[in-house]
Amino acid sequence: MCNSELRGIENSLPSFNQAGIRPVAISVDSPQESRDLMQKAGYTFTFLSDPNAELIRRYDLLHQGAGENGRDIARPAEFLVDRTGTVRWVNLTENYFVRARPETILEQGKLLQ
């Protein structure tokens, strides 16, 4: 499921590049697991690991026990941040199956200075 969203970003990578926006995926996966996923799915953008969900907890994005074997994971969330590090757009979906579309994010990206 999450692959549907990541796949969309990968497919729109030329547009993100052109817009000067760097997509970064973050999950509780270890670097090795992320590397496997990138290889298997052909993702080429940046993947970061938060294995103990420290950042995820700090950003109040923790979905307790929702992962495999009751592991704490991140709820789906997207943040668009401008070059000063200020949040310009947030998407905290209310339904796991509804995700931000690349077109929507790129539209928001046009508003960045």
Binding site: G20, P31, L48, L61, R83
Partner: protein, 152 residues
């Protein structure tokens, strides 16, 4: 069982519920237009429900060659088919909404709290670095952070 006694609407209906359910996970979830709202699958379920209804009427009809067997089979597979439909509706409309409210998440206008995380090569990468390393040969205009559940 020959063609005349075969309760084909029941079987078509039952198989269609399986197709409708699995095709969301296998196919339609990949495309935002059929993912964000599962209209293709709901349509398939609707067609399946019509066949199931016809199958139930046929299975409980008076002209069955083996009335008892027909009623039992019809009951079992109609129930299973309805269960598949219910499970899908419950998963999409109820379970998928069991997400934390995240009221304390960074909001628009706020400076995103700095972080440092490991990339896939084990290198420590900071938000600052993500905001300054060039994209397409130029300083980036922004960074998109996508939090996702993880590999499974």
């Amino acid at each position: 069982m020959n063609v005349r006694t075969l309760n084909w609407p029941l079987w078509v209906g039952f198989l269609l519920t399986l197709v409708a359910g699995f095709s969301y996970i296998a196919v339609f979830v990949r495309y935002p237009v059929t993912r964000d709202f599962p209209w293709v699958n709901l349509l398939l379920f609707l067609v399946a429900a019509v066949f199931l209804w016809k199958g139930i009427r046929r299975g409980f009809g008076r002209d069955r060659a083996h009335p008892v067997r027909s009623k039992i089979l019809t009951s079992i597979f109609a129930t299973l088919g309805i269960a598949v439909i219910a499970l899908f509706l419950f998963s999409y409309f109820v379970v998928a909404r069991w997400l934390p409210a995240s009221t304390g998440a960074p909001h628009v206008g706020q400076k995103l709290p700095e972080f440092t995380l490991s990339d896939t090569n084990g290198r420590q990468v900071s938000l600052n670095e993500l905001l300054s390393a060039p994209v397409n040969g130029q300083p980036p205009k922004g960074v998109l952070l996508v939090f996702y559940r993880g590999y499974w």
